[in-house]
Symmetry: C2
Subunit: 335 residues, 2 copies
DNA sequence: TTGAAAGCGCTACCAG
DNA sequence: CTGGTAGCGCTTTCAA
């Protein structure tokens, strides 16, 4: 329509420069007037020649915390989809135990060595890791943090739960489950893990603000371990037989529920937890657990890869810096 | 690799026939051994020449029931996406009031006239409509029912809520909100609309089975009208001042909530509803409504179109006949 | 600054 | 029964 070649149109459409002002204006005018929108399929097919390589560095799923196994499923689904786009995904995983961050930094270096052009990572909350990610960003390798964000890391964006809001949701449920007030206990994973403390805070906040009739009387730590969880929950229920609610902040849901069962108080105590592990759903079905709050684990695997692809192919930058996953309230009846 | 042309490979890959047994086996063997998987992007691009035309026949959204407006948003999003695939979508809408089905049948004929190759429809529950859809199916035009299913219509599949389960979820919540029992009222839209009665049934079931301490003491109809809803809810709350719960089965959520507010009993009565209309969320935020159960309205718009496209391009048939949307429990804190 | 052409992976059609 | 080729809409490179 403009009497120019497709190459020239491509140049102005994608702001590649090297087009005379006049030609550019003429083309742009036509584009606007006919409402031309580029075809994304054609684009994707052409771009597939670039053979983009992405990395995904994740924590290993464990028995007490199979969350990351579910995330991995999302990674693999998206990997299969992006294969059609000429994208390969390099996966690596580190144990969540090694908390110096050294192992993780090594893995990052390895991935960079192998030529990744973008990285999705569940980072340790450690300055050294932040520093390393910042280096990547400066090298032009975009980074997306998943599941837990990292400050001063120069990451492109974060994909995951809003932990405070997650805790507030738990608090809201606990409040609704106590129309005449009550006393509840909290079992957290660790006071050192930010995600856990944020949930706990959100939970406390809401009860204080909106449900003052619900008193928090007990608190314990289970280190995300099912057996410790079983023990501390059992002790708590014994020491405070008046408890009417239990909030399990992080891992060890199964252990705590087993303790509730063992104490025979599942009909008197409202139990609320996070995530949708198989054993968690089992306890939900049994009626021991009353509600659990999911955080779109699978999407936490898939979305970061899509974001990196879009970014690298000039498709788009994420419209928000914080991409929060849904907080799915799951009870026995809507599982 | 097999020393044959791409055309021949295409024939065996897509079972188009006309290939000698021997050649086919040879090709298949290679396909299996190298784990060849066709590239969906290339496929989509090639198929885009077909210019597939789809129809989407929906109910008009109303003020008291803006649900279908949200569905329409999903339709339009998917329409934009499928435009890249060479697909055009013809949309039409009929008023939910005209319940003889005559108007809807006319619209269907019109769409067929215009050459649609597949149809998504929120059908009236009327045998004449079922008959018409069956005709389409026999003509080779696949039909997907949305939001409410229709028996004996020969539809490819159904996309929408599991209404009984939705009601059970409401019942489960109501039970959890009543740890010491209570008395609740139900306000339904119409005893003639299957979706409403199914929700109601599910609700009653769960309370009976799992929460016998919660008694259903009142019942009213609001015709999905906000003002009738306001009236009947007000009367109910006045007549049964002992009520501790209110279940709004369908439309008229806002009106009923206004009545709860007017009666000044929002702190004493647990109110549960369905869908996520703007006014519904407003009441949730205000604390008048305690929970509402969403049904992925947007997805109900988009998914049927994707299913029809996949089916028509030989991509795949839906793996299940009933594709149920999530039941999203929404409270003030996780909105 | 611009044009021409090859190519991404597939489908479809025509000819043999 | 099979091969050859054009074409889907785009990007990229080389040449002019």
């Amino acid at each position: 329509m403009a009497g120019v070649s497709r190459g020239t149109v491509d140049r102005v459409l994608n702001h590649r420069g090297g087009v005379s002002e006049e030609t550019a204006r003429k083309i742009q005018a036509i584009v606007d007037s006919v409402g031309y929108v580029p075809n994304s399929i054609g684009r994707t097919l052409a771009i597939s020649r670039k053979n983009i390589k992405l990395g995904y560095l994740i924590f290993q799923g464990t028995t007490a915390n199979p969350f990351f196994t579910e995330v991995l499923q999302g990674v693999e689904e998206k990997e299969a989809e992006l294969k059609n786009f000429g994208v390969t995904v390099l996966k690596a995983s580190s144990s969540i135990e090694d908390d110096t961050g050294a192992g993780q930094i090594e893995l990052i270096d390895q991935l960079v060595e192998e030529g990744i052009q973008g990285l999705a990572i569940t980072p340790f909350n450690h300055p050294a890791v932040a520093q390393k990610l910042k280096e990547l960003a400066e090298k032009g390798i975009p980074v997306v943090t998943v599941n837990s964000d990292l400050e001063h890391s120069g990451r492109l964006c974060y994909v995951g739960s809003d932990y405070r809001k997650a805790g507030q949701t738990a608090g809201g449920l606990m409040g609704l489950f106590h129309p005449h007030g009550g006393t509840v206990g909290i079992i957290s994973g660790s006071p050192l893990v930010v995600c856990h403390t944020e949930r706990e805070q959100g939970f406390r906040e809401i009860l204080q603000e909106r449900y003052p009739g619900v008193e928090i009387r007990a608190f314990a730590i289970n280190q995300d371990d099912d057996f410790i969880s079983y023990d501390v929950a059992g002790q708590m229920l014994k020491k405070y037989p008046e408890l009417t609610g239990l909030y399990i902040v992080a891992g060890g849901v199964y252990g705590a529920c087993r303790a509730v069962e063992a104490a025979g108080c599942q009909d008197r105590v409202a139990v609320i937890s996070h995530d949708e592990a198989k054993t968690t759903l089992e306890m939900l079905k049994k009626g021991v657990l009353n509600a659990t709050i999911g955080q779109e684990a699978v999407r936490q695997g898939s979305e970061p890869l899509q974001i990196l692809y879009d970014y690298l192919t000039g498709g788009s930058v994420p419209e928000r810096e914080m991409i929060y996953t849904r907080l799915d309230i799951c009870i026995r009846e809507n599982m």
